[in-house]
């Protein structure tokens, strides 16, 4: 797949590439956008970009040196990283994006507009941010050229400003060939690493765009915590409690040890895997609330949360 992707972009063996795989923290490959700064991370010099398709990206850059890599996928927290790139090589990495835990707080690109005259096409984005913490990263990608751009903010902004204004962001594209909006993608990020949906642009003839979100999952389906479970009641709540408190140490789908023992089939085991105590609600509740054998006490969980997670454990 990677070879096909590279060859389709006319890449030669001695080109310098930044490439890699992008997976969701909970597993599965992602679709999205990669934007690359020339020079140090957050130097605000976006020059290159490309699409992440089925979890794979490859972007050609101009020689070795320092670059800032930014990965965006709809519904996930964006990932920034400074890279030292070797010239004439394919510089590969593996990256993992966590799902955005506060999607309602992510920036929003409300509208995309294109207007052309004889010299240039003016691209505008209407950007807002629910937590009013927008960063300088209101970005545009032209996939036909592999160029990335940072869009100009509304009004005057001081060079070291951290919080950027909401409003209309602008970019002038003066490319000589025919302008094709279908080649353009957009994303905006705030200072908390929340990003807007990655937008492609099917648009109406009058130039006003109701942008289409590039979905995250490789199968085109939306992925992330919102779509994980469709059941209701205690199990849903228990899953949430488990995900937020237990899943970093315990696997739910296996008996293998992650940090602590896997909990699949816990209630069928008869004895708890670490301490060998009988598996009863009382014992499990005590283990959660008091901890023990390298497990910290989770006494801050409410009675309802403990009950919910105990019920959830019974379903594994």
């Amino acid at each position: 797949m990677l070879v096909l992707l590279i060859s389709s972009q006319g890449v030669h063996a001695d080109d310098t590439l930044i490439s890699g795989t992008v997976r969701a923290a909970e597993g599965g490959s992602l679709n999205g956008l990669v934007m690359i700064e020339k020079g140090r991370l957050y130097g605000k010099k976006f020059r290159y970009g490309g699409l992440i398709r089925n979890g794979i990206f490859s972007v050609k850059v101009d020689g070795g040196g320092s670059y800032g890599l930014h990965l965006f996928a709809t519904g996930y927290v964006y990932f920034p990283l400074g890279l030292q790139v070797e010239g004439g090589k394919d510089n590969r990495g593996q990256y993992k994006l966590p799902p955005n835990p506060a999607r309602a707080m992510a920036p929003v690109i409300k509208e995309v507009g294109f207007s052309s005259d004889s010299k240039a096409t003016r691209i505008t984005l209407s950007v807002s941010d629910p937590n009013h913490d927008l960063s300088h990263q209101v970005l545009a990608l032209n996939v036909s050229t592999g160029e990335g751009f940072r869009m100009s903010p509304p009004g005057f902004v001081l060079p070291f400003t951290k919080i950027y204004p909401e409003g209309i962001y602008t970019l002038y594209s003066s490319q000589s060939e025919e302008f094709d909006p279908l080649n353009w993608y957009f994303v905006a990020a705030d200072n908390k690493c929340y990003n807007s949906p990655v937008l492609g642009s099917p648009f109406s003839p009058d130039g006003v765009v109701l942008a289409k979100t590039v979905r995250s999952g490789s199968d085109g389906s939306p992925s992330g915590p919102d779509s994980e479970v469709n059941t209701e009641g205690l199990t849903v709540s228990g899953l949430t409690v488990f995900t937020n408190n237990c899943s970093m140490c315990h696997l739910a789908e296996s008996k293998k040890t992650k940090v602590g023992p896997g909990l699949k089939g816990l209630y069928n085991l008869g004895k708890t895997p670490a301490r060998g105590k009988p598996v009863t609600d009382e014992v499990i509740r005590k283990q959660i609330l008091e901890g023990g054998i390298d497990m910290p006490p989770y006494s801050h969980l409410t009675e309802k949360e403990v009950s919910a997670v105990v019920e959830y454990l019974k379903t594994l």
Partner: protein, 297 residues
């Protein structure tokens, strides 16, 4: 070379330098000496090899799997344990209106393991300065961005979060400046080298309150000065109250203050970078030492 005669005792063999024992054993094994010599050299030779193996294992415990062996929570000293557990809870608790806690974006603890050993390093977030930072500074910056807490509420919380992260790095080699994917930008490494150099200068400057007056940076302690070569690996350490831990940053700040010297945050970071560089590659063991009442390392 001292020959090994049939009449010599084991104790004489034992007194022979180890490298001669090993050489003789090797010669006997490959038949360079007359038949029977191997029996004379076997005991001392094997003993030497065993001693050398033991030395290697003690010096490089990572070779036998000590690397990555984090000490269990229940084996930690009480104040470090308390701090780790508080940090653990903070890691999983939101202190912001949006309900987001650290754990929501850092779900996999395997990602946390290399953090503590990779600082000080250049760590930049959007809108933060481009410079070498300690892990403590980065935690404070993160709390600033991702919580609604007042600055006065963040200090002790940051120390506990630091203890928690340091515990996950327990048993891992110190690798200051190295980013997770290994492709660390050269500019960042250059910035760290400059910080280490500044730290070395501060450590060695000739002033009445300089580090060099009471400490060495080498392997040996001397009659008057204590080596700080591996002191970095033991931080954060217990503050002596049995309740809390203290990071290297806070420790250095207080230590200088007790000497009547006010150090800037930048200088503290430089000295921390120098101390971290001295222990590069060695295994971290946070919380293993306790700060004395006089704040002497």
């Amino acid at each position: 070379m001292q020959p090994c005669s049939p009449g010599r005792s084991l104790s004489e063999d034992w007194c022979t330098p180890w490298w001669i024992n090993l050489l003789n054993f090797g010669k006997a094994l490959i038949g360079c000496e007359k038949p029977g010599a191997i029996y004379r050299h076997t005991f001392s030779g094997l003993l030497t090899i065993a001693a050398l193996c033991l030395l290697v294992l003690i010096t490089f415990p990572g070779l036998v799997g000590a690397q990555g062996k984090r000490r269990g929570l229940e084996t930690l000293n009480p104040s470090f344990q308390k701090s780790v557990l508080r940090g653990w809870r903070y890691f999983q608790t939101s202190f912001a209106d949006d309900g987001v806690a650290c754990v929501h974006c850092h779900r996999d603890h395997s990602d946390i393991v290399p953090w503590a050993g990779s600082y000080p390093k250049v760590q930049i977030f959007d809108g933060t300065p481009y410079r070498v930072k300690t892990l403590g500074m980065v935690i404070i910056e993160t709390l600033d961005t991702h919580t609604d807490l007042e600055p006065s509420q963040r200090g002790e919380m940051a120390e506990d979060l630091l203890a928690y992260i340091a515990w996950w790095g327990d048993g891992q080699p110190s690798a200051p400046g190295i980013s997770v994917n290994g492709m660390t930008p050269e500019e960042d490494l250059a910035e760290l080298r400059e910080a280490v150099s500044r730290g070395r200068s501060l450590f060695n400057r000739r002033e009445p309150t300089s580090c060099i007056n009471c400490h060495t940076a080498g392997d040996q302690h001397d009659n008057y000065r204590k080596s700080l070569k591996d002191v970095f690996l033991g931080f954060p350490r217990s503050d002596g109250t049995g309740e809390r831990t203290v990071s290297l940053d806070a420790y250095l700040l207080n230590h200088y203050r007790s000497q009547g010297v006010v150090m800037s945050g930048g200088s503290i970071t430089d000295i921390a970078a120098y101390l971290a560089d001295l222990s590069r590659g060695k295994l971290q063991r946070p919380g293993t030492r306790q700060t004395g009442g006089n704040l002497t390392p």
